[in-house]
Symmetry: D3
Subunit: 134 residues, 6 copies
């Protein structure tokens, strides 16, 4: 299996509901350094999994809906805890949509699976990985 990973980041505010979160129930924030790994069994005719430039642009576009925002006010997250693992899934779903739409190039329908990792600090991260359903 071949893979290519690109990195970007977003800076958001949010609060988390439930006693398990302790002080994180207060409004606070995070920088998420986001890696998206694209995987496929065979390279395309150019020798690529995906064009790194285009993949980075797609990732920027996905993150721009959250970047510099308070996620507590985001219409898509009403009543949900925007934990790091939850957000990894959200980014996965948005990038997968872009892959299916062909935003990364026609050949990228050959991408079979992805892993999205969000690093929230030097000591903690979360990820979501799955096949991309076409």
């Amino acid at each position: 299996m071949y893979s290519v990973s690109v990195r970007s980041h977003m800076m958001i505010a949010h609060s988390l509901s439930g006693p398990v979160f302790g002080p994180a129930q207060r409004l606070h924030g995070a920088t998420y350094v986001v890696d998206v790994e694209f995987r496929r069994s065979e390279l395309d005719a150019d020798g690529l999994v995906v064009d790194i430039g285009r993949a980075t642009e797609v990732l920027h576009a996905v993150l721009s809906d959250f970047n510099y925002r308070n996620l507590d006010d985001h219409p898509g997250f009403h009543g949900r805890n925007t934990t790091t693992e939850f957000l990894a899934r959200v980014v996965f779903d948005r990038v997968a949509e872009a892959v299916r739409r062909g935003d990364l190039g026609a050949g990228t329908r050959s991408i079979e699976s992805m892993r999205v990792t969000l690093r929230e600090s030097h000591v903690a991260s979360a990820a979501f990985e799955a096949a991309i359903p076409f």
Copy 2:
């Protein structure tokens, strides 16, 4: 698959038996920067794989049995080479026990597998990953 990773470290002395180890047959030591990745298919009701704070405490507790010690004298390792890959398995087994005991919360019985990585320098690391048997 969702996952969450937490990081801590331990500083130990040990020696390794067998000609393959060359100068590492002498008493020396290592800092192991330890990452534990917890994996499960579905998030819990709070939107979590595992509570990062509690997971970090469990990891600290596991490492405290080895930290600041000479592993050559550790009763659990008599006659064993405490290589980095061996220690990755030891940490895995101890954290898996804690998961089964419910030390990370009742819901963490849904954790399906883990990966434990020990970085011994900027150029070498070892890991053990497996399903958690319940």
Copy 3:
């Protein structure tokens, strides 16, 4: 010159006032990975610049006043932009106070200067460094 550095982090929400900040004028947040470097010309009788454990505790205590908070509501920052460089100075001043109070040990009055670095992402950071006035 000898130095010792310790690392911790904080996760905060804030907004920044002024057109130069563009989208960062909105309420958002950041993880700051914080390094404090303590510097002195001579080691103490134990061979130390500062005890790493105690320095880490002092840093945790300083950051706990900001961690998991919205800095826009912090009484100490009324009317101020809590930029990364501004916060580096705030952490410097608080740690310097702790040094002067002897919270890191009596011998730490020999600490001559410090550098506080806040990494806000994998591509940007800010720092403040100065002599510690006694």
Copy 4:
């Protein structure tokens, strides 16, 4: 599954053919920081996946055929785009050959699979992973 990873690097020149590459169609270059992860189900009698020293030597030997070279002139790559993902496969195949030849020790025929990762910058990397066919 146990694994051990070792790291080295190479510095090469190349150009890439096809409009998708934009400015990378020009002769340019890259530092690739290369990690090779060796995986097996059981440790050997010494408690090892593979000897880290020997694995590092094998990796150095593989990279020395490319290091400080213009890959456009490399006889093995005629008519091929030496993308990061393509090179990950090349390094995989060369290290797998070394494993099969016994260059890492007789016991390393128990190595079941490998992952080769090439980091080309702080924001992009590629990898190839597969079972080692014996």
Copy 5:
């Protein structure tokens, strides 16, 4: 002293003349991960050393003259060895010009000094630092 650092990178080909360079006399290449640290004694009215977004744009613009190029053919480097330390100085001079021209904002004439660091691998880097002459 306050400082702010921003990071970008460039991917270049070059060769180095002189027996001291050994195999690096051949045409090869490098990824340089470039950090520019801007320093000043006082923050501006917005609480900034420099706007991180604008500083990043200036750094991108400076690197774009070298990125994806063979430096052996660059008209500015005729008869010069484009070592990492030499390039650190080149980037310094170009960014310093931009600061003097006001490309980072009028207030940035208060920037007193800079440090430019080029990381060429996980084990080697070079830097140039100096006051900015106005």
Copy 6:
């Protein structure tokens, strides 16, 4: 000021005397990832601060006297606490001797100062920097 940094590591055992060290009074160990930064005002005729290959060899040679050893038994450290900051000074002095002897090349008498950094974990490091007395 120009500078070049090279990195290597050593893995040692030791114990530390005095109540301030708590559990580190027991025999334990550490991996030290060691960076040596060489500084000079002008580049040599080849465009170098120091040859990176030769500097790395000198650093390896210096560390080989400590690597894979119990520093409690090292004849040079009798009655001394081998703290991270103390060891940074020891490495500094040894590399400075090599510079003065011309082990890095005749031109390296132009090296004016050095900084030696020892990273003992992902959260703590120590350094020693000074002019090199000729």
